[in-house]
Amino acid sequence: MAWLFVGPALLGIGLVVVFPLVYSLWLSFTDVNLLRSTGPAVELWGMRIPLFRWIGARNYTQVLTDPLYWDSLWRTLYFVGAFVIEATLVGFGVALVLNERFPGRPLMRSLLLVPWSLSRIVVGLLWIGILDFEFGALNGLLLRAGLVDGAIAFFKEGWTALNVLVSVYMWNQAPFATLLFLAGMQSISEDLYAAAEVDGAGYWRRLWYVTVPALRPIVFLVLVLATVNGFLMLDLIYVLTMGGPAYDTTTVSWHGFKTSFTFFKFGPGTAILYTLTALCLLLTVVYHKLVLARFEAEG
């Protein structure tokens, strides 16, 4: 009976996720030449799926011996780390503010969803309007206020560019963290605060001893979601930096994207992307252990 309900969705997911996933894994062990696309193929439900030539782990050795891969990986780890910290802290901070009582609070909570509901292409676009060297509003304001002598080139240095990417992505994603934190704050029992206040605890002590411990599961959740999102981010790089200057904003996902879809080397490209997939699998296990198991246990 249950399978009648679950079946269609699982079958669908099998077709659109598991099958491509397996086929991509296969591709990462072959010598794909897309332009010519000759070689063995398998007939499956009337379609001819090319198999290309099996070359063992050569794509992986090629990719893993390329210093560019490791540079991108370290850069990705920095990006993810910085993004996770920023998104969590800002998300939490904004949640604290929105948890206060003030006129217009419902409106503010609606506004919260605006950055999050934008396509990352638009997110990149609107930040160009703010950060651009020639016509950016921020540069305009700073110049006008006399705070800088010349316009700031935000994408000039790799380091600055990478951090600008982190912050722009954070602007897009932190509101979702805020949403989760707010939900958590709403479900903390009022009695705890009352008791703390009776004990003479001020705002910050209540925050530290009541709010933060109660939100711990949500903190875990936010951390894991942000980590995965950090690893996968691609579209903002496309609009804002294209991985540059030089390779300074090239992350593993961008490296895999370029290799696959600019140079059309699907073999090495899928190999790069598969290392990313492995990382995500690892994170899923962590997520499962830390969050899911806890809630399942509570029932």
Binding site: S37, E134, A153, E157, M242, A246, F261, F263, F264
Partner: protein
């Protein structure tokens, strides 16, 4: 070989059986219903649209034009080909042409009617460039030829008391340093270091050539690390960047068009870019503060040599409308009607350098160039334009694309000059 082999043509169209059954008239009308798909990267798409309309009206064509952003043009076209879409006539830049020909994306043109005549009209250097690596076949008709030139902002130099534009690179650096010191310009020099295929690498080759350096040897292997001229050019770039003479944003621009628009503002003194951009800079007062003719051209510093290359119109190897596609390609890249319509339009409207020398005998064209450039000087610069042969190597497009990051690292000082030049050599080795 001046006419299409009919059998080949019909076979290619997959219609020989239909032809036998229905006779020629039916075939012709069936063919007339087939549109010609035409794609190019974005450069004055309005102009392209106008002459496509003109062709459709005047020659009863059914050309469907589509413009693709420059930065992603070649990967996009490859994707489209792999997806099974047949774009009959395509732009192709020099860096990617051999890759396309090699992989059977585009077809040779030698067997098509009228090709021999066009070969005779082309400047020898351009004809040489039009041939495939083994020299056996012509695989493209010229869209335009590009040379890098030096442009300067005359009022700004005058304001600074600089009488003549720089003749040497040292002078250019001195002028820039002075302009910055005197607070006349924040970033006096605007080299075309943009992130796309039309920026950093052509600029790199131009400056290396002007220093007398060879980047490729006779076998097209990269030897940048053995050339003192290349090292000199790179030391200079590093210094210009470090001293803040260059607007660093240029490294993240995604096209030469975008880059040259910075020069419109009049905030820069020197600019190096493809010659035709001087036309909008010095000839379009509605856009540029340096028009009319406040920006001028000077001979390239050093020995005056710059990088020269030609971009192409190519025909899809799988086209099903070969006859019409060829007619359209000749309209674009040749002389379909005896009036060089499109070639002439590009000279008049965009100031593109042309692969057919007789264009420069045309009084209308001479007059038009005179409005924005010293045509004599431009033709002199053209003579000093130096093509490379390496673009015909199958690894070239990937090399050309990946080299940008290495050169950017040199510019920004994140890599030393010798190390960076060695990396270029190593990159080529890893791809060959």
């Amino acid at each position: 070989m001046t006419t299409i082999d009919r059998r080949t043509f019909l076979g290619a169209a997959g219609l020989s059986a239909a032809a036998a059954l229905l006779g020629e008239g039916a075939l012709r009308s069936a063919r007339a219903d087939k549109p010609i798909n035409f794609s190019g990267w974005v450069f004055k798409p309005d102009t392209v649209k106008d002459y496509v309309d003109f062709f459709n009206r005047k020659h009863g064509g059914q050309v469907k034009y589509d413009a693709v952003p420059w930065a992603t043009y070649h990967p996009t076209m490859e994707t489209r080909a792999m997806a099974g879409e047949i774009v009959d006539v395509m732009y192709c830049n020099s860096a990617n042409r051999e890759r396309w020909a090699d992989n059977g994306l585009i077809r040779p043109l030698d067997d098509l009617p009228g090709m021999d005549e066009l070969k005779k009209k082309m400047a020898p250097g351009n004809l040489e460039a039009a041939r495939s690596r083994d020299g056996s076949k012509v695989v493209g008709l010229p869209y335009f030829t590009s040379i890098f030139i030096l442009m300067y902002n005359e009022p700004m130099l005058q304001q600074a008391g600089i009488k003549a534009p720089a003749r040497t690179w040292d002078e250019l650096m001195e002028h820039s340093a002075k302009l910055k010191r005197d607070k006349i310009s924040d970033t006096p020099y605007l080299p075309n270091w943009n992130n796309s295929g039309s920026g950093t690498m052509p600029q790199f080759l131009s400056d290396c050539h002007s220093e007398g350096a060879n980047i490729f040897d006779a076998k097209n292997k990269v030897i940048a690390d053995q050339e003192p001229g290349a090292a000199r050019a790179m030391e200079r770039w590093q210094k210009a960047y470090k001293d803040g003479l260059v607007n660093p944003e240029v490294l993240t621009k995604t096209s030469s068009t975008d880059t040259h628009r910075l020069f419109w503002t009049g905030r820069y003194a020197y600019h190096t870019n493809h010659s035709y951009y001087l036309k909008t800079i010095a000839g379009e007062p509605e856009n540029s503060k340096l028009a009319p003719k406040k920006a001028r051209m000077a001979m390239y510093p050093g020995n005056g040599q710059t990088h020269m290359f030609t971009e192409w119109y190519t025909i899809n190897a799988k086209t099903k409308v070969l006859e019409d596609a060829w007619k359209f390609a000749r309209f674009l890249g040749g002389n379909l009607n005896g009036d060089w319509y499109v070639q002439r339009q590009w000279c008049l409207i965009a100031g593109l350098d042309n692969a057919y020398p007789e264009m420069y005998d045309n009084p209308e064209i001479i007059q038009s160039y005179d409005r924005w450039v010293d045509l004599k000087l431009l033709r002199e610069q053209y003579k000093k334009g130096r093509p490379i042969n390496a673009f015909k190597e199958p690894w070239f497009s990937e090399y050309d694309s990946k080299a940008i990051a290495i050169v950017h690292n040199i510019i920004r000082g994140t890599s030393t000059v010798p190390k960076g030049l060695k990396e270029l050599t190593a990159l080529q080795k890893s791809l060959a």
